[in-house]
Amino acid sequence: MTYERQTDFGTPEALSDTFVTLTIDGREVTVPAGTSVMRAAAECGGAIPKLCATDNVKAFGSCRLCLVEIEGRKGTPASCTTPAEQGMEVSTQTPRLEKLRRGVMELYISDHPLDCLTCSANNDCELQDQAAAVGLRDVRYGYEGADHLGTQTDTSNPYFDFDPSKCIVCSRCVRACDEVQGTLALTIDGRGFASMVSAGQQGDDFLSSECVSCGACVQACPTATLQEKSVKAIGKPERAVVTTCAYCGVGCTFRAEMRGEQLVRMVPWKDGKANRGHSCVKGRFAWGYANHRDRITKPMIRDKIDEPWREVSWDEALTFTASRLNAIKTQYGARALGGITSSRCTNEETFLVQKLVRAGFGSNNVDTCARVCHSPTGYGLKTTFGTSAGTQDFDSVMQADVILVIGANPTDAHPVFASRMKRRLRQGAKLIVIDPRRIDLVRSPHIEAAHHLALQPGTNVAVLTAMAHVIVTEGLADEVFVRERCDWQEFEEWARFVAEERHSPEVLEAVTRVPAGEMRAAARLYATGGNGAIYYGLGVTEHSQGSSTVMAIANLAMATGNVGRRGVGVNPLRGQNNVQGACDMGSSPHELSGYRHISDGDTRALFEADWGVTLDEEPGLRIPNMLDAALDGSFRALYVQGEDILQSDPNTHHVAAGLAAMECVIVHDLFLNETANYAHVFLPGSTFLEKDGTFTNAERRIQLVRKVMEPANGMGDWEVTQALANAMGLQWHYTHPAQIMDEIARLTPSFAGVSFERLEAEGSLQWPVNAQFPDGAPVMHVDGFASGKGKFVVTDYVPTDEKTGPRYPLLLTTGRILSQYNVGAQTRRTENVVWHEEDVLEIHPSDAENRGLKSGDWVRLASRTGETTLRADVTDRVAPGVVYTTFHHPATQANVVTTEYSDWATNCPEYKVTAVQVMASNGPSEWQESYASWSEKSRRIVPAEPAE
């Protein structure tokens, strides 16, 4: 296998419906209008030398290496900045051009250190390639001129270095940071020869600057100036495999660039339709956890959870597990057993876990982490639109005129999509943010939200009802759309309800704390500003009225005609990489794959015939119900694949008690996570680099995950589940995940046309893929709603029962940050910790002052369920009365304080509203100390006796 860089067409693709035909070096080529001459030449295989151009940023025209001659024009224009025109005749190779290019190249090289042979970019350097391309052999100016060779290398970023001595000041990095990432962290300081790239203000290095370590600049750099440390350490890659990121729901695709069995770097794949060649710090750099010393690669068992773990063979572990499960089933019945599928694992693995639960355990007690994140999306969008999938693809945001972000923090949680959104905002789209916190989007370089409605946590439904009030009473609803596409009578009923005076912004201001004028202006802007697109996240769903909020959002979109075309829509930003897929695959206790209810006899018959079993016809337990049932003894065994419910689920004490009450807890994971402290069996898992399969991202896009190295634990996760099934007496014989996908397609109408072969050939598919949509469906509800008519649902604001009072006067809301992922099991085991070593508590200056607190102080955070300690960060990002923290670190365990309150329809926990008190503290709480020692005790391992 040979290694090749991804093709660089020099300038971005032009999106035009009109085409022009021109001749380049005698060859005729037809391209969309607006395409540069450089790109046209590259597309017909005749690459023109270039340095300052690269195809993910706009042409800049500074290096003058890409000169061409055009018939009938004077001079030698730069091909990167010259648009192709009809009938143009271009020459790219003439003696005059060659001479000019050599001259340009000579100037560059004379300032550049000539240590190519020892340079880490040797043979992978565009400067070197271009020097060869223009035939440069000698430099007339000598190498004695002034250069930047004395400058220091900036090694502050944990993943890449910046060596200014090698910089040719092409500004590709600066433009990548501006245009692709949208962070604007880099500038060119100084002029002429003194010009230098610099990160942030004077004295800043990359780490202390605004840089978010997305790596776009590293990818854009044509020299070794900005380069991954891993390339220096391991060497140049020798082969590349395209695969999909295993972190968030954006679903970026990457080339895993390998040297032997070692991963050298992850480079975003330009043909990836979700990310279009971009990535964030997690996907590009934070893969070191795969080889972290904490990773467990041998199966382990123990009789009781206070005993140390015993390393055993796979056979012994599986026999032990199967006999325990079978014994519990015999004694207590099938409904005493259950499983949790992982939204981090592949569709095929998830499908197998729910199959094991339904066909092997014999119950429907299967759930997934969507329970704690987007289950209200499922309920809410199904009720209104007839289907809960996000309505748009990511590209659609480029056609939005007004972007409404509610309860989401895309720059931290969905960074690559956020970059695309920011690009649209810089082009002039208007932004409305509804969030108790001043998230970064509210004010960032060249972006300012038109309205930030900093609502009181827990009042989403009231805010959306007030906005609806304005739209209806001011006559801003799109009646034509509603009459044609929705149920008119239901609309009228809804309109009457929201129009009541008690729903006016003025009356609701007392509840929402949003100034009425601001609310009215935001509603008018959304209704009348052109294409209105709503993006929302867990700040919408993780409330006692999560499902109602989703419905209220859908109502607003329908009332203003913002559904069913590009640039509009209702878009849930999903958390984990495969949360969409896990749901599609039948991970909920009430439904089989493709969202068919378990009580439907025909659906069951289909699966029963295929699997050769009889299925339970009653819905099973959801995760919180499983824990409740464990406490009363009716639920006794749990198989958890790739989830850490102890850390991620609310009210840690309750979760711990539930787990401790079970007789057989099987944790199948990479690490001894917090849940494993309560487990009897540990089955080592594999990383996404070690197996084949598919993930489905937030746009319903199914993409391949490809094995790039052998699993350190010896088996892919689908193989582990299969081995467990077989140990229990099932007879599964899958030899490749492709066969599992074939079974999914056979049993699931919306996946009917999906196969590994098609994904291999087409890159990705957006379900449904079936007879009606043979090539998938990027935008939904184009010709009418999935359910026929869109349904308005009256959403009555019901305040949460979680109330502040004298003992707990503040409201805690929780969230996540860019560099860490969920419970942090992976990201805490990478260099990403330099950006977030611990969870901190954001508190408003006035609340801090009342309590005598300053930034960095230890504080005790207490609610009626528990307490923990962490450090304070005094900031006006949060409103007075509101405090905020993240839940990435087990030492803090923010969920010790969250409560068991949950969404009325789905039991999605109310993470976003907990009444708390904050006070000064001098160190970890008693609970933290006792948990730390319990955890240490529970993690003891007795290695297997070496064989004689």
Binding site: K382, Y595, D600, D602, N625, Q772, S787, W904
Partner: protein, 94 residues
């Protein structure tokens, strides 16, 4: 199963359907519990009903009585209208 918690859940569902008027809310609450609750949760809720649990709201009580009588209402919203065996394209992903 902890009766108080189940009753809390049933009341919460009922409260959110209240805008439909009493009869509508009772049917919607019954439909919801029927489609999403595990049998032991239903059984424990019926037991609480029989023991005259003080905390039950009128609507939640009506819904549990309806289900206990063996009457399961037709789907009351699209949330409980599920895809048929061969139906593609719908979703209540979450």
């Amino acid at each position: 199963m902890d009766a108080d918690r189940l009753i809390y859940m049933a009341n919460q569902i009922a409260r959110n359907f209240e805008v439909r008027g009493k009869q509508g809310a009772i049917a919607a609450t019954a439909d919801h519990i029927d489609k999403f609750w595990d049998p032991r949760m239903k059984a424990a809720a019926y037991a609480a009903l029989e023991q005259g649990h003080a905390g039950l709201s009128t609507i939640a009580q009506g819904a549990l009585e309806m289900l206990r009588r063996g009457h399961t209402p037709a789907p009351q919203s699209l949330a409980t209208t599920f895809n048929a065996v061969d139906e593609a394209g719908h979703s209540d992903a979450g």
